[in-house]
């Protein structure tokens, strides 16, 4: 049977390309038959006039026979489908206004969805680029006293986990070191990731070139080997495959390149390279040295939950055995993917939900237009029905036209999304992880196609549902009697009104979400920073221990740097610290307070810590509230002093003065000599916690963040400042050169982009809904011209007409607002984590947005209402 059907298919395909020939053959064959029959009938005595008729009579229905033959030779379903498509294209081209509006509307909806979906795909959906990536986990510690987020692990604790936790197949620590690479032009600062030899086998990644570390290379003295990350390899070695065996200078020491890693290995922001982790004996045994990030691979069949349970047991055991180092610390285990995604999923999913609503509104709008169009096509459809088109065929026609529109809209939307992609990447969600892989890939294309088809089906089925043959037949009769308008019966206008109510409700939800986000952003922007960011230039200088033999040498150098910088024309003051506010880089120390018992948990008091040179508070504009700032005599060897912030003073001394009190840390007592204002340390939304400032020149460090207050635009001085610093030592890397305003903007970037996008979607949704209201009211005015004309003729004033038209719209808008408010109460709860200083049911926002939507809705009704007022009763009555 199968070969036969293939034979037939082949013949039919051949016939496809000889369509005209086929038609002629079919005609000829039947004509020949009839001719033969006529001839025979004539021979048997039938007259010449009668013969053709008799022949036809005997033959039966020749047209049907020919049709039946033709269907055998062709692909009737596909061909009528093609007919319908061509017909659909023709119909769409005949009404370009409708077509363009529909396509643009859909393009906006689908384009926004495509863009956001591409982000969701890149960040949340795409699997990690490692084999069995779902088995990879990050293990970290956390304090159950203070929430300082995930903290690294100490090596001896990790060794215990390795021994006692069967859920893990492998565990590998890693440590980030800054490596100054010299010998390639300007000194470059890179991240060197220190890893043990089994790190790469754990990930399951093979090097692009060369090999990974050997166990012997994790021994002291044999660890002068380096593996390049793909970015470093491309940037500094021109992607040369023969780089293996060459040596490079890192932190003044020579390393041999043994391998190059593929680009998907991203373990740091920016370029990185890999060196062997060779812990010192002290590092291997010090349980307090929580310095190592830990990557694990779960054993086959093990789950994160099992690992977590085992780790909890181990944490309890460690806390009992080593209370000094491990008490109050738990283990946290998270899949590597969720670790990478961090908190990005909530904002992304909310944005995705928002664009979903935009698309729904767009569909309702196009559905509405499509419905109106199907009214005006009732006559055409009715005639097709009368000529024998089945209901299925008519529904198919409507569906095909809908899908054509949706696909065109989808294609336009895709272009829109591709165009928006660069903007999204650079401007929006700067801090979102994994966004560097943002592309329109096959998954995104499938999504767009799916969204387009779904949208097309949704909006075209609405009118298709209302097509019934009986009603169409009635419509033809009515059309004949000139009452076409009534065919747009009450059921249809009810449906249109429902669509508009739905649109308004959805738009209200969107605008409420945008409003909340904007309010939150405004609150965040108005947060008192605690310092004056204007006209401050900042940059970081990194030194490695090998550059200076002693702390004294380093401090002499750093003092020299500040003196040189102060001498630059246009500089008002210059000072140094360890880290900048708002960058989250403050570390934390444990300390005691004189005359106070230790807290009962045995942990000591904790506070954030920073360092400051003399003049630091003046440079940043942080007010000194009591006591003094640091001065040039606060040096190593002189009496130890600290300055605390207001939050510290309030927390530990209440209404007493903090000045003159003593705290213990770093193995000695220090006197509090000053109290300064709070600054936002880690980010804008977190209220400032207690913070201790140590004198930069007394405590000693190897790090320098330079702060320069300028008299002119700060970036204009950047080069001069760098040149002065390099005039002392031209090999020091200077990084993070930016103004303090930029630092503040970066801290604000995420809420800004979120509120920007939500506002955009809110505006889009509201705009579409307004077009929807306008369309419905306008159409209804068109249908009621005669009625309005009569009313005016009977004495109705402008105000009456206005009330009539706007009243109809107001009902719809108010219903939509009521439903939308209820939906918003339910929906905005999802935004809790994103909002700062605004409740998810903020009455101000809810009320304000409702008023806005009602006013905008009424405005949309007003335009058709004005047209109604201008109806000339004489013309209206005559035009029937």
């Amino acid at each position: 049977m199968l070969p036969e059907s293939i034979n037939g298919l082949w013949l039919r395909i051949k016939a496809l390309f000889r369509r005209r020939q086929l038609d002629r053959d079919l005609d000829d064959e039947l004509a020949f038959h009839l001719a033969m029959r006529e001839q025979k009938l004539a021979e048997s005595g039938v007259t010449a006039e009668e013969a053709p008729h008799a022949a036809r009579r005997q033959f039966g229905n020749a047209t049907r026979a020919k049709e039946a033959n033709r269907e055998l030779w062709t692909f009737p379903f596909a061909e009528t489908l093609w007919q319908d498509i061509r017909y659909g294209v023709r119909m769409l081209r005949k009404s370009p206004g409708f077509t363009i509006v529909a396509i643009v509307t859909l393009a906006l909806g689908i384009g926004a969805n495509t863009a956001i979906f591409s982000m969701v795909e890149a960040v949340l959906l795409r699997p990690l680029p490692y084999p069995h990536g779902s088995q990879l986990v990050e293990v970290s510690r956390y304090s159950d006293v203070f929430d300082f987020g995930n903290q690294p692990v100490s090596l001896p604790d990790l060794a215990d986990v390795r021994k006692q936790c069967p859920s893990f197949e492998r565990l590998a620590p890693r440590n980030y070191e800054i490596a100054d690479m010299t010998g390639h032009g300007l000194p470059e600062q890179l991240w060197a990731v220190e890893v043990p030899p089994d790190f790469f086998p754990l990930l399951g990644v093979a090097p692009l070139y060369g090999r990974t570390f050997l166990p012997s290379e994790a021994q002291p003295g044999h660890d002068d080997v380096v593996i390049l990350g793909a970015a470093v390899w491309r940037k500094y070695f021109d992607a040369d495959p023969h780089v293996i065996g060459r040596s490079i200078q890192l932190n003044g020491a020579s390393y041999t390149i043994i391998g190059v890693m593929p680009p998907q290995l991203t373990f740091s922001i920016g370029a990185n390279l890999w060196i062997p982790l060779v812990p010192t004996p002290a590092q291997s045994t010090d349980r307090g040295d929580n310095a190592y990030f830990v990557l694990g691979r779960l054993a086959p069949g093990s789950t994160i939950a099992q690992a977590r349970a085992e780790l909890n047991t181990i944490a309890a055991r460690l806390a009992r055995a080593f209370p000094k180092a491990d008490k109050g610390l738990g283990f946290r285990v998270r899949s590597m993917k969720s670790d990478r995604v961090r908190d990005a999923s909530t904002p992304l999913l909310i944005l995705f939900g928002a664009v979903g609503l935009v698309l729904l509104i767009a569909c309702a709008n196009v559905g509405n237009l499509y419905l109106v169009r199907s009214f005006s096509r009732t006559h055409e459809l009715a005639i097709r029905a009368a000529l024998g088109a089945t209901r299925g065929r008519l529904v198919r026609q409507l569906l095909i036209e809908g899908l054509l529109l949706a696909l065109a809209g989808g294609a336009a939307g895709l272009l829109l999304a591709a165009w928006a992609m660069d903007g999204l990447r650079s401007l929006v969600l700067l801090n979102t992880p994994r966004l560097e892989h943002l592309t329109i890939d096959a998954h995104v294309l499938w999504f767009t196609l799916g969204a387009s088809l779904a949208a097309g089906i949704v909006f075209s089925l609405v009118p298709a549902f209302l097509v019934s043959r009986d009603r169409l037949v009635a419509a033809v009769r009515e059309a004949g009697s000139g009452h076409e308008v009534s065919s747009a019966g009450p059921r249809r206008s009810r449906l249109r009104q429902l669509l508009v109510v739905g649109e308004v409700a959805l738009a209200l939800v969107l605008v409420v979400a945008a409003g909340l986000m904007l309010r939150s952003f405004a609150r965040l922007s108005a947060v008192p920073l605690g310092f004056r960011p204007d006209r401050v230039l900042t940059m970081e200088i990194d030194f490695r221990p090998h550059q200076f033999k002693t702390q004294v040498q380093f401090l002499a150098y750093s003092r020299g740097v500040l003196e040189k910088v102060r001498a630059v024309p246009g500089v008002e003051s210059a000072s140094a610290s360890l880290v900048n506010p708002l960058t989250g880089g403050f570390s934390e120390i444990t300390f005691g307070v004189e005359g106070r018992p230790q807290p009962s948990n045995g942990q000591g008091f904790k506070a954030g810590v920073s360092d400051a040179t003399p003049g630091y508070f003046r440079t940043l504009g942080i007010p000194i509230l009591a006591g003094r700032g640091f001065n040039e005599s606060d040096l190593a060897g002189s009496p130890r002093v600290v300055i605390v912030n207001r939050a510290f003073a309030r927390r530990f001394f209440g209404s007493e003065s903090a000045i003159g009190q003593h705290i213990s840390s770093h193995g000695g007592w220090a006197e509090i000599v000053g109290e300064v204002g709070n600054v936002r340390d880690s980010n804008l939304s977190r209220p400032p916690g207690p913070l201790i400032y140590f004198p930069y020149n007394q405590r000693g460090s190897w790090w320098m963040t330079v702060l320069v207050r300028t008299k002119i635009e700060p970036m204009a001085l950047a080069q001069a400042v760098k040149d002065r610093i390099w005039s002392i030592d031209k090999d020091v890397p200077i990084t993070q050169v930016r103004t303090m305003d930029r630092v503040v903007a970066a801290a604000n970037a995420e809420p800004r982009s979120q509120s920007l996008l939500l506002s955009l979607f809110g505006a889009l949704g509201l705009g579409l809904a307004l077009v929807g209201i306008y369309g419905v009211i306008s159409y209804s005015v068109g249908c009621r011209t005669r009625e309005i004309g009569i009313r005016i003729a009977l004495g109705a004033q402008d105000a009456d007409v206005l009330r009539l038209v706007v009243g109809q719209g107001a009902g719809l808008v108010l219903a939509g607002v009521a439903i939308g408010l209820a939906a918003s109460f339910a929906a905005t709860r999802l935004m809790r984590g994103l909002l700062y200083g605004v409740s998810t049911t903020d009455p101000f926002t809810f009320a304000g947005v409702s008023i806005l939507v009602v006013l905008a809705g009424l405005a949309a009704c007003y335009i058709p209402a004005r047209r109604a007022m201008r109806v000339d009763p004489v013309t209206a009555l005559k035009c029937e």
């Binding site: 020949f32 001719a35 033969m36």
Partner: protein, 114 residues
Amino acid sequence: MMGPNRERTSDLLQGTLDMLILKTLARGRAHGYAIAESIHQQSDDVLRVEESALYPALHRLELRGLLASEWGVSENNRRAKYYRLTARGHKYLAAESEHWSRMTAAIARVMETV
């Protein structure tokens, strides 16, 4: 040709029309008109093929690969489509004839047992 009688025969012949066509063509190639006339005459004027049904049946058989067709010139110098059996058509006819003989014999036996 018309009337209740025709309806019954056409029902009966719907399945056997294919077989009759194949049988007719087993004697050599022929055009549609000749096939219809031949069946009519061979059956002593009992069977009359509904002509409008003949052509779809021919085309169906051709698409199934049991018949092949070619255009030729008829006895009265007109362009006509000639059909002939393919190898597969021959095989199919043999199988169908045997099936048919067994069926009619069985039906005859049943009808005679009264």
